[in-house]
Symmetry: C2
Subunit: 360 residues, 2 copies
C-alpha cells in the first residue's frame, strides 16, 4: 500500500491510518450487518402463525443479506457462506412471484390510465390543456374511449389477482417445508456467530473496501456486456425488435443484480467512506433505479402479452393489450436508453474507484 498516490489529492480510500480504526472493525461493520440481517429474517420467519410468516419482510431480509454474502464472500468462511447463499437464492425465487404480480398489476393499470384517461371532462379539470395546449403536459391517450379498455383492465386485474393468490399459496407452502426450516436454523447460527474468515477486530477499511471496489468492477463488467453502443441512440427500436423473449434481458438482469449488490455493499462500508465522498462513484442509486424501471416495464409487457393469449377475449381487448405491450416495451427501451446515457458519463468514476480500492 502506498501512502501517497499520484492524483489521489489527499483522499485515502483503502487504508485509514489513524482514521481507519474510527471507521470500525470487520466485526462491527460486516459481522454486525450480517447479524442484523439474519435477525430481521428470523423475526419475519417467526411471525409464522395462522397466516404463515411475513413473506414481504422475509423477502426484504433476503434482499438485504444475499448481496453481502456475495460481495464480502472473500472475508467469510466459504463452508458456511456458500450453502447459505445458495439457499437464500432458492428462497428469493420462492418469494419473488407474488410481489412481481402486484407490481405488474399496478403498473399496467397505471399505463392504461395514461393511454385511456377515464374521461376528458375529468382531465380538463386537472390542468390547463386546451388553449395553447401544445406545451401542456396533460395529453389524451391513444386509447381514449376505446371499447377494449374496460375489458382489458378487468381481464388484467382478474388474471393478476388470481396469479398473485396462487403465488402466495405456493410460497406459503414452501415456507412450511423442512428446507425453509433448515435455512432458518442456518440463519440462527449466522445471527449468533457471523462466519468471518478474519479476526473480528481487523480494521474494516483494508478488508471491506477492496470488496466494494470489486463490486463496482463487477458492475462495470456486466455493463460492458450490454449492447450500449446500440442502446445509446434514441429510438433505436430495440424494444420491439425482440423475440417473445428478449435476448438481452439476462444481461440486463445481471447488471441490475450487481448494481443492487454494490448499493448494499456501499451501505455496509458507509462509515469508512465519509471522508472520501468526493472520490466515490456517484449515481449508483439512479442507475439502480433505471435498471429496476427497465425490468418492471419488461415484466409488465410480458404480462400484457400473456393476457392477450386468453381464449375468447374480444378483438378490441386484444388490440388494447397489443398497444399496452408495445407501450411497456417502449418504456423498457426508454429506461435502458436513460441508463446507457447516464452510464456513459459515470463510467470513468467507476473505473477510477475500482483501481484505487483494489489497491487496498
Amino acid at each position: 500500500m502506498k501512502d501517497a498516490r499520484p492524483g489521489a489529492a489527499g483522499a485515502r480510500m483503502t487504508q485509514g491510518g489513524g482514521a481507519g480504526g474510527d471507521g470500525g472493525t470487520v466485526g462491527e461493520l460486516l459481522g454486525g450487518r450480517l447479524a442484523e440481517a439474519a435477525e430481521a429474517f428470523l423475526r419475519a420467519a417467526s411471525a409464522m402463525g395462522g397466516s404463515g410468516p411475513d413473506a414481504m419482510a422475509l423477502r426484504a431480509a433476503v434482499r438485504g443479506l444475499s448481496p453481502l454474502l456475495t460481495v464480502f464472500g472473500p472475508l467469510l468462511n466459504r463452508s458456511v457462506a456458500d450453502p447459505l447463499r445458495s439457499e437464500l437464492g432458492w428462497l428469493a425465487a420462492v418469494l419473488a412471484p407474488e410481489p412481481a404480480y402486484t407490481r405488474k398489476a399496478v403498473r399496467l393499470a397505471a399505463a392504461l390510465d395514461v393511454l385511456a384517461p377515464v374521461s376528458a371532462g375529468e382531465r380538463g379539470e386537472n390542468g390547463p390543456g386546451g388553449q395553447g395546449g401544445a406545451e401542456s403536459t396533460i395529453r389524451p391517450g391513444v386509447l381514449a374511449g376505446h371499447p377494449g379498455v374496460p375489458k382489458a383492465r378487468a381481464l388484467l386485474e382478474r388474471q393478476l389477482t388470481l396469479a398473485r393468490a396462487r403465488a402466495h399459496t405456493a410460497a406459503l407452502q414452501e415456507l412450511r417445508s423442512s428446507r425453509f426450516h433448515a435455512l432458518a436454523d442456518r440463519l440462527s447460527l449466522l445471527a449468533s456467530d457471523p462466519p468471518l474468515a478474519l479476526p473480528e477486530n481487523a480494521p474494516g477499511d483494508a478488508a471491506l473496501l477492496p470488496c466494494l471496489g470489486a463490486a463496482y468492477r463487477s458492475l462495470a463488467a456486466a455493463v460492458r456486456e450490454l449492447p450500449l453502443a446500440r442502446i445509446t441512440v434514441p429510438y433505436h427500436g430495440d424494444a420491439l425488435r425482440t423475440a417473445p423473449e428478449d435476448p438481452d434481458e439476462p444481461r440486463w438482469r445481471r447488471t441490475r443484480d450487481r448494481a443492487r449488490a454494490a448499493l448494499r455493499a456501499r451501505a455496509v462500508c458507509a462509515p469508512l467512506l465519509d471522508e472520501l465522498s468526493n472520490r466515490h462513484p456517484t449515481g449508483l442509486d439512479e442507475l439502480t433505479e433505471l435498471l429496476a424501471m427497465a425490468r418492471e416495464a419488461a415484466e409488465a409487457a410480458a404480462g400484457a402479452a400473456a393476457a392477450a393469449t386468453t381464449p375468447r377475449i374480444t378483438p378490441a381487448t386484444g388490440y388494447v393489450l397489443g398497444v399496452l405491450h408495445a407501450d411497456q416495451r417502449m418504456a423498457v427501451e426508454a429506461a435502458r436508453y436513460a441508463f446507457s446515457r447516464r452510464w456513459s458519463h459515470l463510467a470513468p468514476e467507476y473505473d477510477r474507484a475500482d483501481t484505487e480500492m483494489a489497491q487496498g
Copy 2:
C-alpha cells in the same frame, strides 16, 4: 437596398448587380417553370384513354405547380392565380387517397416484416447474428411466430387493396367531371400565358428571392407553432399520448406543406443561388424528408387502428394490430424527435436567410 451589409461577407443574395441578369429574368425563371408545370399537367391529363388520365403524373404536376402559386403569389395576377390555386387544392385532395393507401400498405407490410420476420432460419442466412450478437443489427421481432401475424397481414392487404381500388374509381370519376375539364382549360391558358404581374424581363433575383425568403420565414413560423420543447426530449411518450386523433397533426402537416413549398421555390430560384450556396439555409431536403416520414407513420398507425375495428377478427389479430399501431406511433415520435433536433441546429440559418432575402 444596401450594397454592403454587415456580416454579409461579400455574398449578395437579393440583387445581382451585373450577375443578376445572368441568373435569369422573371419570365425565364418563374414564367418558364409555371409553363413547364402546366404542360406536364396537360400531358398527364391528355393520357385520357380507356383507363383515364395518368393520375400519378397528374398528382406530381399538381405538387410541382401549387407551391409556386403560393410562394410566388405576390408576383402573379391574383385574378388568375387565386382560383387556380383553389382548384388545384381540390384536385390534390381528389388524387391523394389512392397513393396514400399504397404507401400505407407498403409501410405496414414492412413493419410486420420487422416485428415478425418470416423465419429465424432465413434471417440467419442474411447476416451475422448469433455469436457476439449483442451488437448485431439483425434482431428478432416482438411478434415473431405470433399466430395473429398472418391474419393481420392478410387483413391489412385486403382492406388497403380494396380502399385503394375505391379511391382510384372515385378519383377517375372526378377526372371526368366538368370541374376537371375547366381546370385543364385554365392550365392551357397558364402554359401559353403565365400570369405574371411584373414585366417578363424584370430581373429574377430582386423579384423571386424575397418570395423565397418569405417561404423560409413561413416554414420557420410553422415550426414555432410545434411543441418542440416537449418533442426534443427523447422518449417523451407523446406518440401514445394522443387521442385517436393526434391534436398536433394539423400543425405538423402545415409544417410539412411549407417545407415542401420552400423546397420547390428553392428549385425555381436555383439559377440565382449558385454563388450564395454558403449562405443558403441547409438541410431543407432532410427536414422535409423527416416530416414526410412522420406523416407516413401517422397514416400507417391510423390504418392499423382502423383495421382493428373490423368485425369478427380474432383477438390475436387485434393484438398484432395494437402492437403495429403503437410501433407506428413510435415511428412518428422518432421522426418528430429527429426533426426537432435537426431544426434546433438549423434554425439560425433560416432566420438569417429570411432577413437577408427580405431586404431584396
